[in-house]
């Protein structure tokens, strides 16, 4: 794990690499998220100050794109593909089953113990493997609700 100092220093370097160019806001936020795994508010404020853009604008961009996260994510990230191909092969039952398994209600995506984050994505491009889920970067194809629950059980 990188220390606060190392992460902050990286953000400074990211800004320098992009020459404090306002139009590079999106790549800067992407690189920053790589460091922190999400976009902490004080870092967004710092980026806004350094680039001389109003914080409301930075916040607007950070909340527009789904790739950016403003809250910390869980240790394990589960992404369920709900693209068309997966959907017609019943990915929604997998979503329902995993939500129940992880006790996630409504729009919650991260478990209270910060162990899991469950996201649905629109098409991973692995349509041939539908329905597909990705756990911590590894793709699992031809899933069913029970198989998915079993995968989670293996991690726990």
């Amino acid at each position: 794990m990188k220390s606060n100092y190392e992460k902050f220093r990286s953000v400074c370097s990211i800004l320098e690499e992009h020459a404090f160019d306002k139009s590079k806001l999106i790549p800067i936020l992407q690189a920053t998220q790589e460091e922190y795994k999400y976009l902490p508010q004080e870092i967004l404020a710092f980026i806004s100050s350094a680039l001389n853009i109003s914080p409301a604008k930075v916040y607007g961009v950070a909340t527009f794109y789904s790739h950016f996260s403003l809250t910390p994510k869980g240790k394990h990230i589960i992404r369920i593909c709900d693209g068309t191909a997966c959907h017609v092969k019943k990915s929604s039952t997998i979503i329902d089953a995993l939500k129940k398994k992880l006790n996630l209600n409504g729009s919650e995506t991260t478990t209270k113990d910060m162990l899991f984050t469950l996201e649905t994505v629109a098409c991973l491009g692995a349509c041939g493997l539908a329905p597909a889920i990705v756990i911590d970067g590894k793709v699992y194809g031809q899933m069913t609700a029970s198989k998915a629950v079993a995968l989670i059980d293996n991690i726990c």
Binding site: Y5, E42, A45, F46, A50, S54, A56, K57, Y59, T63
Partner: protein
């Protein structure tokens, strides 16, 4: 060849109109729109201005340029049905408690629903009830009334260059709010309130203080004095059908109305505007003499003042230290008036009526308080005055005129034209350059500074020295000028800035106006009012002279005058956040804050932070310090800055920081 459109069967000629919508408006058809403002960029979000063009189909009029010969229909069945759907969709996501909304009657959504004869909303109610943002004195935000037309966002960005409000999230989760969804108070908002002027609904409104004023008025032990700003008299008539084509000056009726409501004394802010000129002109001449802190920036617009404090601290010294007319009125009312009126200060309630929302904020500025007490208790806007008149059941249009109370009721024309962009400049010139052109019409002598543009320039010769003057409205224009000054591309001696388009007549506290002609009429009313007055030069105001003689050390610029009529400014930090590098505050570590503001970053804060982290590591201080990166320590001119415990080290070096850390830890 003449260009024309056939609009609903009628041939309408056009020239250089930007789009079909403007031509339709020219044809005296009010095409509904929430998001089109001629002063803002075309946004195309509300989809209400849809028209049917023969051969093309249904298209938005706001973003379609006209081609001669187009056959346009504005009211086909399809279009009407679409408009109804749009309004229903908006209503399904809108707090529909219209009867208790301050915007009722002037709400465009309400008006349109009525015009379209919407009987029921066929869609599900999806409004999310949110709390009102009451964090500022100036404005109230109610997100559940927002229809996301983006007018406020664009005004704040495109005209004021602030960007305090922005869109957040995406799709149906979109909202408009200040940074990080926080309260407005924590944003960069300068409270000009133009967002509330362009808001078609009640999502952003000036914060009303009417209730408090009524309460004070009904308290038998209190004497409530009030003063009205110049621009108020030029606009209030609009609410009561008095404006007509050329506008109406309604000061006399306002005095009557206020008296009927129970105000003890009714004064005129134009009087203190005269004083402001006298004081500011004196300051200007001194700065010219000493060639110091030029250009002089006017300081009567609180939004502009906050703007300088926030973004251009290096120019704070350029701001005139004179209080604004409201500030002077407050000071005199609270500190001199009790003596004149023979009333206990404690029993006096001071109210001002302003065309402005930022004045509500200004009244509460700590820098204007006297021993921690604010001078002006309540600030109400022209809109709120109209509400009070209506609440009191007064038939304003039928009231007789009545005179202001003395001594703060007498004014020269200079104090009146203050309400227009260019008015302050003109008034200052009437003072500093008055001797030059005898025999001319005093009210026209400097009329060359008037105009419609947001950025104007003038030159005048003052005893052999050429003075360069800039007159600005709109903070984006102001920012541009400041950038040029900073880059030494321009040189000026005097710069007047008003945040609102057109100056105070176009203030956000005024009755909502949608076309430019209304604002122009208000300006005209003030210039005509100036003409009808006996005196035009502020220094000729006998009551001003008397006030100086009796209470203010006889002359402008005196010590007393400074005590009562001047103020000071401070650098206002825009960010409240800081980045934690290490935190041992639970066992009482020493705070080390490294400034990472723009100036400091350029001067090497990154290296200093590195050095501190290394040093603290080497010295085994790790558990004894709380290091953070701060934006910022507000000492930009002596960058880089580091604060160790309570000491700020400016122009910090590795060594000076080391010493400071050692000292604190030992």
């Amino acid at each position: 060849m003449e260009k024309y459109l056939i609009i609903n069967g009628v041939k309408i000629f056009f020239e250089n109109e930007k789009n079909i919508l403007e031509i339709i408006q020219k044809a005296k058809i009010e095409l509904p729109t929430f998001c089109y403002h001629s002063e803002l960029s075309t946004y195309g979000s509300c989809r209400l201005c849809m028209v049917e063009v023969e051969g093309t189909g249904i298209i938005p009029a706001c973003s379609t340029p006209a081609t001669s010969g187009m056959v346009v229909s504005t009211n086909t069945e399809k279009i009407i049905s679409m408009r109804k759907i749009i309004v229903e969709l908006l209503l399904a996501n809108h707090d529909r408690e219209c009867t208790t909304c301050q915007k009722s009657q002037s709400c465009k959504l309400q008006t349109l629903a009525r015009r379209l004869g919407i009987e029921n909303v066929r869609f599900k109610n999806v409004v999310h009830k949110t709390d009102r943002d009451l964090s500022t004195y100036a404005l109230v935000r109610e997100q559940d009334k927002c229809i996301l037309c983006g007018d406020c966002v664009r005004f704040c960005d495109e005209v004021q260059s602030i960007g305090a409000l922005g869109f957040v999230n995406r799709g149906s989760k979109s909202v408009v709010c200040p940074n990080f969804g926080k309260d407005l108070e924590l944003s960069e908002c300068v409270y000009c309130g133009q967002c509330s002027r362009v808001c078609p609904t009640g999502a952003i409104i000036p914060r009303s203080e009417v209730k408090d004023v009524w309460k004070a008025l009904s308290n038998k032990n209190k004497k409530v004095v009030v003063a009205i700003a110049p621009a108020v008299r030029a606009a209030i008539g609009e609410v009561f059908g008095l404006a007509k084509e050329n506008g109406t000056e309604a000061a006399g009726k306002i005095v009557t109305a206020l008296k009927m409501m129970g105000f003890y004394k009714v004064f005129d802010v134009s009087f203190t505007a005269d004083m402001t000129i006298v004081e500011e002109a004196n300051e200007f001449l001194e700065r010219i003499k000493e060639n110091n802190n030029l250009p002089l920036f006017t300081s009567c617009c609180p939004a502009w003042v906050k703007f300088v404090e926030q973004y251009y601290p290096e120019f704070i010294k350029s701001l005139s230290t004179c209080r604004s007319p409201q500030g002077m009125y407050g000071s005199i009312a609270k500190r001199i008036m009790p003596k004149i009126l023979g009333v206990n200060k404690e029993d006096l309630v001071v109210v001002s009526i302003m065309p402005c929302t930022a004045k509500k904020y200004e009244a509460r500025r700590k820098e204007l308080a006297n021993n921690g007490e604010i001078d002006i208790d309540y600030v109400i806007t022209t809109q709120e005055l109209a509400m009070m008149i209506e609440e009191a059941g007064l038939r304003f249009q039928d009231l007789d005129a009545y005179a202001f109370d003395m001594p703060l009721g007498f004014k020269t024309g200079a104090g009146i034209i203050f309400g227009n962009s260019g008015g302050v400049t003109e008034a200052v010139l009437r003072n500093v350059a008055s001797g030059m052109t005898d025999g001319q019409d005093e009210s026209e002598q400097f009329s060359f500074v008037r105009g419609e543009d947001g950025r104007r320039e003038a030159k005048i010769n003052l005893s052999g020295r050429e003075l360069k003057i800039a007159i600005i409205y709109g903070l984006k224009n102001a920012r541009q000028v400041l950038r040029e000054l900073k880059a030494e591309k321009r040189k000026y001696d005097f710069i007047e800035v008003m945040a609102c388009p057109g100056g105070c007549v176009g203030g956000a506290g005024q009755p909502i106006y949608n076309d430019l002609s209304t604002r122009k009429n208000r300006a005209k009313v003030l210039y005509e009012n100036d003409k009808t007055l006996e005196l035009h030069k502020p220094q000729d105001n006998p009551y001003v002279q008397k006030l100086y003689n009796d209470y203010l050390g006889n002359a402008p610029g005196s010590t007393k005058a400074h005590e009562y009529l001047h103020t000071h400014y401070k650098y206002r930090k825009r960010y409240k956040e800081s980045v934690v590098i290490s935190d041992n505050s639970s066992n009482g570590g020493v705070d080390i804050k490294v400034c990472f503001g723009n100036h400091c970053m350029k001067k090497g804060s990154k290296e200093i932070l590195k050095h501190i982290v290394d040093y603290v590591g080497n010295k085994n201080y790790k558990d004894k310090v709380n290091i953070s990166a701060s934006i910022c320590l507000e000492k930009c001119f002596s960058a880089p800055n580091v604060k160790v415990s309570n000491t700020t080290i400016s122009k910090a070096s590795d060594k000076s920081v080391e010493e400071a850390i050692d000292k604190e830890i030992k």
